[in-house]
C-alpha cells in the first residue's frame, strides 16, 4: 500500500489529476454553484458538485491499479509474494483512497474562504467531508473492479467513469421520472436506493446517517470482492 501511494507521487499524472481536480472544484463551487451569490455561509455548492467531479477524478486515480500491473507483468511479481489476493486488492485500494483523501483535504481553502466570510456550521462541513470520503471509497472500489478487468488503462478509465455515472444518475430526478414511465414502483424505489446520489443528499446537508455510510461501505466491499474474484480467475491473462 505504501508502495502504491508513493508511486502515485512518482508519476506526473498524479499532479496533473490533482491540479485539475482542485481547479474544477473551485470553479464549480464559486462560478456555477454561486457560492458567493447564495448569501449563505456553507459549502453546499461545493459538495453538490463533488460527485460529478469524482466522475473524472476517481477513474483517473483507479485506472492504473491493476491494468498497469498486468501490462508491465509486475502482477506476477506481486502475486507470487506471500500475500493473499484480498490483501493485495485492499492495499492498493487503501493507497488510492488515501490519495483521494489528500485531494479532498487540499480543497480546504474553499472552506477557509467561507469561514472567513461568515459563520458556517463547521460540524456539518466536517460531516460532509467525511461523507464525501466514503463516497470516494465507493467510486474507487468500482474503479478497482474495472481496472482488474483489463490491461488497458484507458478502457479501465472509461468503464469506471461509465459505471460511476450510471450509479450516480440512477437517483437523478430525470432518470427516476423515466423509470417511472415503465417500471413498477418497487423497482423504481430499488434503483433509486441503489444510487450514489440518493445517499449523497443527506451528506451534502452535513447529516452523516449511519445507513448512508453503511450503503457506501457495502458498495466498496462488494466491488473489492468482485475485483478479487476477477483477478483470481484471470490474473495471468
Amino acid at each position: 500500500m505504501r508502495r502504491e501511494l508513493a508511486s502515485y507521487f512518482a508519476t506526473p499524472i498524479a499532479y496533473v489529476v490533482l491540479v485539475i481536480f482542485l481547479l474544477e472544484a473551485n470553479l464549480f463551487a464559486f462560478q456555477f454553484g454561486g457560492l458567493f451569490e447564495r448569501g449563505q455561509a456553507d459549502l453546499t455548492p461545493f459538495f453538490t458538485f463533488l460527485p460529478w467531479l469524482y466522475l473524472f477524478l476517481i477513474p483517473a486515480v483507479s485506472m492504473r491499479l491493476w491494468a498497469e500491473e498486468r501490462r508491465n507483468g509486475t502482477i506476477e511479481l506481486l502475486l507470487t509474494q506471500p500475500v493473499t489476493m484480498w490483501q493485495a486488492v485492499l492495499g492498493k485500494f487503501l493507497a488510492a483512497w488515501l490519495f483521494v483523501g489528500i485531494a479532498l483535504v487540499l480543497t480546504c481553502p474553499i472552506w477557509i474562504t467561507v469561514a472567513y466570510l461568515g459563520r458556517p456550521d463547521h460540524g456539518a462541513i466536517i460531516a460532509a467531508y467525511l461523507g464525501s470520503f466514503f463516497v470516494a471509497g465507493g467510486f474507487l472500489a468500482v474503479g478497482s473492479f474495472t481496472s482488474s478487468l483489463t490491461k488497458n488503462q484507458l478502457i479501465a478509465f472509461l468503464l469506471a467513469a461509465w459505471a460511476c455515472f450510471l450509479l450516480l444518475i440512477a437517483g437523478y430526478p430525470a432518470a427516476t421520472d423515466w423509470f417511472q414511465t415503465w417500471a413498477p414502483q418497487w423497482l423504481v424505489a430499488g434503483i433509486t436506493s441503489l444510487s450514489f446520489l440518493t445517499h449523497f443528499e443527506n451528506i451534502v446537508k452535513g447529516v452523516l446517517d449511519l445507513r448512508d455510510v453503511l450503503y457506501y461501505a457495502l458498495v466498496t466491499v462488494f466491488f473489492l470482492l468482485a475485483s478479487t474474484v476477477v483477478l483470481d480467475a484471470r490474473k495471468s491473462k
Binding site: 505504501r2 508502495r3 508513493a6 508511486s7 512518482a10 508519476t11 508491465n72 507483468g73 509486475t74 506476477e76 511479481l77 502475486l79 507470487t80 509474494q81 506471500p82 500475500v83 493473499t84 490474473k235 495471468s236
Partner: protein, 236 residues
C-alpha cells in the same frame, strides 16, 4: 524441496503442461529445458502460485501450492520470466517493499538487505529508479528480490536471458554459490548453461516430460556426446 504430481494445465483446449511428475531435492540445481512454448514458464508459474493448475498437485517444502499457498510462497524465491519490476521505484525502494511483503524485520532484515545489495553489486544504483537501469542491472535487482528472504527453494525463469556473456557468468557464479543447501530450478534454452551450473536436467516438449538425467547422462545418450543432439532428438 519441490514436488509435483501429475501437474497439468489446460488453456481452453491447449494442453500447456501435461501430467508432469518430478521431485527436486535440496542441493540439486535442476535445469528445466525445452523449446519455446514447451510449458516451462507455465510449470514455474504454477509452482510460484501465480497460475492455478487444471489438475494435479505441487508442493514447496511440503506446503501444497493450492491448499497452503501462503506458506509455499513464503518458502520460495521466484524470478518471473523477463524479471518484471516496478519501473518508477528506486532499487532501494523496491527491495524495501519486497522485504516488507516478506516480513523481514529488525537486524535480520538489515543483514539480508545489505547482503543482497553487496552480493549483486547494487550499491552504485541503489537510489536510481529502475526504469533508468541497464538490462544487466535490472536482472540483478530481480535476482536480489528473489533471494532477499533467504528462501530454501529458488525458481528462476530464464535468469540469464538477454544478458551479455560477462553478466551470464556472474549470474551462474551466484547460483553455484548459493546452491549448496538450496533447491534450485532454472529454466533455460541455453544448453551450455546446463553444463555450467546444473546437477540434473529435465527436458519437456509439448508439456510432457521427455528426459530426466544428469547432464553427463544426457550427453551419453547421443553418439556424438553433445547435449545439443540429445535435445534435438527428444524435443523434436
Amino acid at each position: 524441496m519441490i514436488k509435483t504430481q501429475n501437474l497439468t494445465k489446460n488453456y481452453d483446449g491447449l494442453l500447456a503442461v501435461d501430467d508432469l511428475t518430478f521431485t527436486v531435492e535440496p542441493g540439486e540445481v535442476l535445469g528445466f529445458l525445452g523449446p519455446n512454448g514447451a510449458g516451462k514458464s507455465t510449470t514455474m508459474r504454477m509452482l510460484a502460485g501465480f497460475i492455478t493448475p487444471t489438475s494435479g498437485t505441487g508442493s514447496i517444502c511440503g506446503h501444497d501450492i493450492a491448499t497452503d499457498a501462503l506458506a509455499a510462497k513464503a518458502a520460495l524465491g521466484y524470478l518471473p520470466e523477463g524479471a518484471p519490476l516496478y519501473g518508477e521505484m528506486t532499487v532501494g525502494g523496491l527491495l524495501d517493499f519486497i522485504a516488507d511483503l516478506r516480513r523481514l524485520e529488525g537486524a535480520h532484515r538489515k543483514t539480508r538487505l545489505d547482503y543482497v545489495i553487496s552480493r549483486l553489486q547494487l550499491e552504485p544504483v541503489i537510489a536510481q529508479t529502475i526504469d533508468t537501469l541497464s538490462k544487466g542491472f535490472k536482472r540483478r535487482v530481480g535476482l536480489a528480490q528473489a533471494i532477499v528472504h533467504d528462501p530454501k527453494v529458488l525458481i528462476l525463469d530464464e535468469p540469464t536471458d538477454g544478458l551479455d556473456p560477462l553478466q551470464k557468468h556472474e549470474v551462474r557464479t551466484l547460483i553455484g554459490e548459493i546452491a549448496r543447501e538450496k533447491t534450485i530450478v532454472i529454466s533455460t534454452h541455453i544448453l551450455e548453461e546446463v553444463d555450467a551450473v546444473c546437477t540434473r536436467a529435465i527436458i519437456v516438449a509439448r508439456g510432457k516430460l521427455v528426459a530426466d538425467d544428469t547432464p553427463a547422462g544426457l550427453k551419453a545418450r547421443a553418439p556424438s556426446g553433445r547435449l545439443e543432439d540429445v535435445f534435438r532428438a527428444v524435443a523434436a
